[in-house]
């Protein structure tokens, strides 16, 4: 037996008795969210190379005043707040960025920066997280536009056609739709708010909807990341084609 003085480490950033590389969990969130944030900001301000043939970048859809009649900046700046707001207030992304960027906490049972006043989501700006369902409603509007864009992406000069960009856009809209419909707020609104499914008006269909959405909701994290990657890649692909860096391969 040997004695040494200590109880648990004092509360300070990174203080823990965990032996695993807990900080590794933060890297995907820092790299993917940080990288996407940087790329999306640059692309939003670029204001060019957002359409080619039947393709329109999801960062610029719906396309408003591309001829700069009344809006002299990039058209993306008019619309990006909607989808970004949906992701920023998403219950999954909140976990990811509170951990990765606010270190609140950096990982489970790992110390935070000392002497920081913590108010959670009770005060501005984080109290806005409570309006996530309104961003969900907005996301539905954007989804409708993006589906319309995908339909147009099959139209090459009045004829049905499929290019690589068509497939990229189709995959993207499927992932975005699945991500949007795996939303916690939708799960609540569809049926989760009911205490008694069998006694409520339309209770049984709502129970069915709630169960189906629960299956999607259990994959919310995976869908959040996948759809983030597909939407970023779709914009990147269209930018590459529109700028002439690559040629879109026509499959049909």
């Amino acid at each position: 037996m040997a004695g040494s003085p200590t109880l648990l480490p004092e509360s300070r950033l990174g203080a823990t008795l965990r032996r695993d590389a807990w900080w590794v969990e933060l890297l995907p969130a820092i790299i993917l969210l940080g990288g996407f944030g940087l790329y999306a900001t640059l692309r939003a301000f670029e204001g060019a190379f957002f359409e080619w043939g039947p393709y329109l970048s999801p960062f610029y859809s719906p396309l408003i005043d591309p001829q700069h009649h009344w809006w002299k900046f990039s058209p993306a700046l008019l619309i990006l707040a909607g989808p970004l707001g949906f992701r920023a207030t998403c219950y999954y992304y909140r976990k990811a960025y509170y951990r990765a960027f606010f270190l609140d906490p950096p990982a489970c049972a790992v110390g935070e920066p000392a002497n920081r006043k913590y108010q959670g989501e009770t005060k501005f700006p984080f109290i806005i997280q409570n309006l996530h369902r309104y961003f969900f409603y907005l996301a539905l509007v954007f989804l409708a536009f993006l589906w319309y864009d995908v339909v147009l992406a099959y139209n090459f000069g009045g004829h049905f056609g499929i290019g690589v960009g068509t497939l990229v856009m189709t995959l993207n809209i499927i992932m975005l739709t699945l991500y949007t419909f795996s939303c916690h707020s939708l799960r609540h609104l569809a049926g989760g708010k009911l205490d008694c499914f069998s006694c409520a008006t339309l209770g049984m269909p709502r129970h069915g909807a709630w169960r189906a959405l629960t299956v999607l909701n259990e994959r919310h994290m995976a869908l959040a990341w996948t759809s983030l990657i597909t939407v970023g890649f779709t914009d990147f692909y269209i930018r590459m084609v529109a700028s002439g860096a690559i040629h879109d391969l026509r499959i049909m």
Binding site: S4, L7, L8, L17, R133, G192
Partner: protein, 244 residues
């Protein structure tokens, strides 16, 4: 089999103390609680350890093993690296009484604030299974308080006066979603239990030995119910006009 070294926090009272190393012969299937019992039986009969069932059902033997909140009866020694001592500490978020035993009585005080089940008057006491499937998950809670211990709002910010913690959000979820219950606990959740302080970082879910999806199935649905009553202007207007 080789010996394991357990480095155990010893001491009385909430502060101070020391860690002491003990060598324990490893037996097949041994869990950390077995090792603690070996130490009690052979080397330190005064070692204080709270335990009861040794079957991960009573929730008594919660501690921190190598820095991770866990049930010691559910943590196999052979699952831990043996090149360094296995560090066993009491739960950080509660004041230590002695050695690995902490005072968790604050939790029972919080529990008393929650209005119990209040059945709707005049309804038939017949419940459809599909209406209780959801709340049965919450009944699995064994009150080990590992979720309370790991929650950074309690652990790092010590917000005990204003925050009830995940265990009690699970309890309220079980009551709020009960098909025969009539009480409205949303104001309590918002104003007294500090639901808004939870920033849903899911550590409670990660440590739950009963695999209750605390964040997704209890806390977030409760947050949405609070939104219904306090933050969503359309739902609030709808309630005002049509009642409910």
């Amino acid at each position: 089999m080789p010996d394991a070294t357990l480095r155990i926090s010893r001491g009385e009272g909430p502060t101070g103390g020391e860690t002491v190393d003990y060598k324990v012969p490893i037996a097949p299937g041994m869990v950390v609680l077995d090792a603690l019992h070996y130490i009690q039986g052979h080397q330190a009969p005064d070692l204080a350890v709270r335990w009861n069932c040794k079957a991960a059902k009573c929730g008594s033997c919660s501690a921190e093993v190598n820095g991770r909140p866990r049930l010691t009866c559910k943590t196999r020694v052979d699952s831990l690296p043996m090149d360094e001592p296995i560090v066993v500490m009491p739960m950080k978020s509660f004041p230590r009484i002695k050695d690995l035993v902490t005072d968790v009585s604050w939790n029972y005080a919080v529990n008393k604030k929650i209005p119990p089940f209040q059945p709707k008057p005049g309804v038939e006491w017949k419940i459809s299974q599909l209406d209780v499937d959801r709340v049965q998950e919450f009944r699995k809670c064994i009150e080990c308080f590992l979720c309370q211990n790991v929650c950074h709002v309690l652990r790092e910010h010590d917000a005990k006066p204003s925050f009830a913690g995940p265990r009690f959000f699970v309890r309220v979820a079980g009551l709020e979603m009960h098909p025969l219950d009539s009480a409205n606990r949303a104001p309590l959740l918002k104003n007294e239990m500090g639901l808004g302080l939870c920033n849903i970082t899911k550590c409670c879910t990660e440590v739950c030995p009963e695999d209750i999806h605390i964040t997704d199935n209890a806390i977030i649905p409760l947050k949405e119910r609070v939104v219904d009553q306090f933050y969503d202007p359309i739902t609030m207007l709808f309630r005002k006009v049509f009642g409910g």
